[in-house]
């Protein structure tokens, strides 16, 4: 794919003098070891939350939607807020594995596995809400265009809610396939290391008989690239379709053409915040600091700054066009003067503070590279992006065109319990994953070890002249040999510049 030569100015992506074997051992360690007390403690808490949520869901379905805080004016509130929030969180995973693959970002390799897992678990949570917010969820299969005995009564393909069904289910299946394909070499690695027959059997099944031949690898790479090419438009279209739920309507504040790209940017923004939250914890707990380095965290923070900037421009646009339209109904939308001063002012300002003001601190390099601060900002963004969806949905609905139907919304404990339950479910899945799956794509990390590992970077530095690198690094034939054998004009300048870089 790309040459093995790497500009000396690039910081190493793998630290701690790692060799190929070290990578294997470090990645396999959590899978091969036993869970400690704190894992069981956290897992139990998550499980209790999940069971509590399950109880709330069962209660809702058997009693009726009236057990939620919805009213005749505000027919969507926490249910769809949580749905959009979870779908949004899922987007970072696909972004990291697909979009960053297309852009050949090597740093994605240490984070993509967990990001994709996060995607899948988040989409599972999201997928619950379209079902449970139905009045009659047992008829949910009617949304599918299946030939039937009602004179083949079909669905109306004009509704974005139906597009949601297709979007989310396609998204989940493609993400799952993409994730699993990437897992094959890593499962095979665990299979080959397993000492217990049961473990060997399980990972033997999971790895589909992967033997790592040249032909397999070649096809593996091609499939990954094609899937990345497909997943990129998919990830954009999924959240676009979710945004259509609102933007196709006539509700002031919802009907806005910027929603498709703005929702996608917001999804990446919140998704990366969630990845930060999870990975900052994970790298500490299972000793992956040498793979998920401070540089990775900084890069993700930069993505957060960028997408946060895009979202901010969209906020300004919404606010401006709301005013510019000259339509009085736009005065009460989620980003309007009326919202900033009305009964939901607290939600408006929570949105502005969490999504605009606090992330601005990430422009400062010191804070961007500060793990504790990053963790805090990521949490704040997750809260802020929940408020963004809440504001869009509830504030816009609360003051519609007819003042006689203006209303306020307050959640019941069942609304809250369901949301808490999905968070519990998410962590149950994620914690199980962290103990049974290779959380870093070791096969991929090994491909960058020699170009981006600090051990090899040091070796290169010691042998500044290009001729020596060939001996040290054992370049494969495909690795852009021109980089190292041919002499280039201005070579001496470059070498002296390398030293300069170190000094800078």
């Amino acid at each position: 794919m790309s040459s093995h030569y790497e500009a000396p100015i690039r910081e190493p992506l793998v630290t701690g003098n790692k060799s190929y074997h070290d990578v294997t051992v470090d990645v396999a360690a959590p899978v091969e070891g036993k869970a400690n007390k704190s894992w069981w403690l956290v897992f139990s808490i998550a499980l209790v939350a999940f069971l509590w949520g399950l109880g709330c869901i069962i209660y809702t379905v058997s009693t009726g939607i009236g057990s939620w805080g919805l009213n005749k004016t505000i027919g969507w509130a926490w249910d769809i807020t949580n749905f959009v929030w979870w779908v949004g969180i899922g987007h970072a995973g696909t972004l990291i594995s697909a979009v960053l693959l297309l852009f050949r970002q090597k740093w994605r390799m240490a984070v993509n596995r967990s990001a994709e897992a996060m995607t899948i678990f988040a989409v599972v949570q999201a997928g619950l809400f379209p079902i449970i917010h139905m009045g009659r969820p047992w008829l949910a299969y009617w949304v599918l265009p299946i030939p039937n005995q009602f004179g083949s009564l079909w669905v109306n393909f004009n509704s974005p809610l139906l597009w949601d069904v297709f979007a989310i289910s396609t998204y989940l299946s493609v993400s799952l396939v993409f994730w699993w394909t990437g897992l094959l070499p890593d499962f095979a690695m665990i299979r080959d290391r397993a000492t217990k027959p049961f473990q060997k059997k399980i990972y033997g099944i999971l790895s589909f008989g992967w033997s790592g031949r040249a032909k397999d690898w070649q096809r593996f790479e091609e499939v990954s690239l094609v899937l990345a090419g497909l997943a990129t438009p998919l990830v954009l279209s999924v959240h676009t379709i979710v945004s259509f739920d609102f933007a196709t309507s006539l509700v002031p504040g919802w009907h806005s053409t910027i929603f498709p790209p703005y929702f996608v940017a917001g999804a990446i923004f919140s998704g990366f915040a969630m990845v930060q939250t999870l990975l900052i914890t994970m790298r500490k707990v299972i000793n992956l600091e040498n793979y998920i380095t401070i540089l990775h965290i900084e890069y993700m923070n930069k993505v957060i700054v960028l997408t946060g900037g895009i979202v901010s421009v969209a906020y300004i646009t919404e606010y401006f066009i709301g005013w510019y339209s000259g339509i009085s109904y736009e005065n009460y939308t989620y980003l309007s003067f009326g919202a900033a001063t009305g009964p939901y002012a607290w939600a408006f300002w929570a949105l502005i503070t969490c999504n605009f003001i606090v992330p601005l601190t990430l422009w400062i390099k010191k804070l961007r590279r500060n793990i504790v601060w990053t963790f805090f900002v990521a949490l704040v963004i997750n809260i802020g992006m929940w408020f963004e969806r809440f504001d869009i949905i509830v504030i816009c609905l609360s003051k519609g065109r007819t003042p006689s139907s203006w209303a306020m919304f307050s959640p019941t404990f069942i609304d809250i319990g369901t949301f808490v339950g999905t968070i519990g479910f998410f962590f149950v899945l994620f914690l199980l994953y962290a103990r049974t799956f290779p959380v870093i794509a070791q096969a991929e990390v090994k491909t960058i070890l020699k170009s981006s590992g600090d051990k090899y970077k040091k070796l290169r530095e010691e042998h500044v002249s290009d001729d020596h690198i060939g001996e040290v690094e054992e370049f494969p034939a495909s690795g852009g040999p021109a980089a190292n054998t041919e002499a280039h004009e201005g070579e001496d300048d470059l070498n002296s510049e390398d030293k300069n870089n170190k000094n800078n």
């Binding site: 030569y5 309507s249 009907h255 929603f259 498709p260 969209a314 066009i321 280039h488």
Partner: protein, 455 residues
């Protein structure tokens, strides 16, 4: 060092002269009285028969809802009711047509002028992104990009002048009489007023040109410096520029395009124009690179570099379509009267262009540039590029023409001459810009990665 050949210079100058004459012709032949407008109308409808002119009148009526200077017209006719189809109505209609016909040469010049400006501007944005993203493959193309952005200075000055002097031809909100009778426009006057409009235009001009000046200066400084200080400076400048560009691009789109139909609004509009900008810019980078390589000036550029640029052309063509569709579908779906006029006019009066553009800008690139082998073949990329450029010229045309001249559009001498004029200017300035420094940069920390880049 690249030096523009005398032949190309001569051709550019001929293009400029021919273009200037054509534009002048457009302005001279524009009707100055209602009678002249009548004649032109008669000539337009001649041969179509009476039947057609009746329907045309009807068409104009829908068309006018959106077009410049018309707001007054519609409100009056609403007030009078349909029964007053008398002479006064006819007069007003003719006055309106006259206005549109007088606007035609202005619009033709603006479309071509902005088209070439947006190419240079898009290249500047792409250039800034290369620094910010620490891209390893593209540094060998930096001088090509710098050369193209040389056009920003003359291009932006001309466009700003057109925008400022077009006045009521483009911007009905500059008509005080009209604003006085229109409550909605009065509400917008805090933003849509002439002094603020001028200030904004000058701010855009300053921001874009300042960045271009310092970016190029640092890039040249880097050639003579072994330390990478100029590179680091450029990194910082690029970040700041992109931040300001995100904001100025939005307001620019609202100012120069959206306010042509001051009652209409769309939140996505500015980003949509950005998509057009960036895809055209990438295409021009690709074509310029291919030409220079063919002439032997870029021996260090290989087909992997071309492959990458072509991938971006492919990707951003799809991105453009995504935004085009999102804006169109959402407005079509909701069908709110005050919003939908924008597309009704375009679909009724510009049907073939409107949908043809989508085919050229989406279907064509997606079919041609999907195959990765094709993306490495220069002539293939050039052909795809020509289609993309034509498609995006139509896109700009459709942004401006329906809003300013309504149904009285055509593609004649003036439109063609305007393209020639700006093409000549573009060739001349870009050729000059490319010749200012060696086409290979030196001492950029990623240069070596870029030289040895293979995909």
């Amino acid at each position: 060092m690249y030096k523009q050949s005398g032949k190309v210079k001569l051709i550019s100058i001929i293009l400029i002269v021919l273009g200037a004459l054509g534009i002048g012709y457009g302005f001279i032949t524009a009707p100055s009285t209602i009678d002249e407008a009548k004649e032109i109308l008669a000539a337009e409808h001649g041969g179509h028969g009476e039947d057609h002119s009746a329907t045309a009148n009807e068409d104009h009526h829908t068309a006018e809802i959106n077009s410049a200077g018309h707001v007054k017209h519609v409100e009056k006719s609403e007030a009078h009711g349909e029964e007053v189809h008398s002479e006064s109505h006819e007069d007003e209609h003719l006055e309106h047509v006259l206005h549109q016909l007088q606007t035609k040469p202005w619009s033709a010049t603006f479309v071509a002028g902005f088209f070439f400006l947006m190419i240079a501007l898009g290249v500047l944005v792409f250039y800034a992104i290369q620094f910010v993203a620490q891209v390893g493959w593209s540094p060998v193309l930096f001088r090509v990009m710098e050369g193209i952005t040389a056009y920003i200075l003359p291009g932006s000055i001309i466009v700003v002048l057109i925008v400022l002097f077009a006045g009521e031809h483009f911007y009905p909100w500059q008509n005080h009489e009209l604003v006085a009778g229109d409550k909605i426009l009065q509400g917008k006057s805090g933003y849509l007023n002439f002094p603020f409009f001028v200030i904004r235009a000058i701010v855009y001009l300053l921001i874009w040109n300042t960045y271009r000046f310092f970016a190029v200066k640092n890039s040249r400084d880097q050639d003579d410096s072994v330390a990478i200080k100029p590179y680091r400076k450029n990194f910082k400048f690029s970040v700041i520029f992109l931040l300001f560009f995100m904001i100025t691009e939005s307001t620019m789109a609202w100012d120069w395009f959206m306010s042509m139909t001051p009652h209409w609004y769309s939140t996505l509009f500015a980003w949509y124009i950005f998509a057009t900008m960036i895809v055209s810019a990438l295409t021009v980078i690709a074509i310029t690179t291919i030409i220079l390589k063919k002439l032997g000036h870029l021996p260090f550029v290989n087909n992997s570099h071309l492959h990458d640029v072509a991938k971006f052309m492919f990707g951003f063509s799809i991105f453009w379509t995504y935004l085009w569709f999102s804006q169109f579908m959402l407005i079509w779906y909701a069908n709110i009267p005050e919003e939908v006029t924008y597309f009704t006019l375009r679909m009724e009066e510009y049907n073939l262009l409107f949908f043809g553009m989508v085919v050229i800008n989406f279907v064509f690139p997606i079919l041609i540039l999907m195959n990765s082998d094709f993306k490495r073949i220069p002539w293939f990329v050039v052909i795809a590029g020509c289609f993309i450029l034509v498609g995006h010229y139509i896109d700009v045309y459709l942004l401006v023409m329906p809003s300013t001249v309504g149904s009285h559009w055509s593609f004649g001498i003036t439109e063609f001459a305007a393209i020639l004029f700006f093409l000549g200017l573009f060739l001349l300035v870009v050729g000059f810009g490319l010749g200012k420094a060696p086409l290979k940069i030196k001492n950029n920390p990623f240069l070596k990665e870029s030289e040895n880049y293979h995909y």
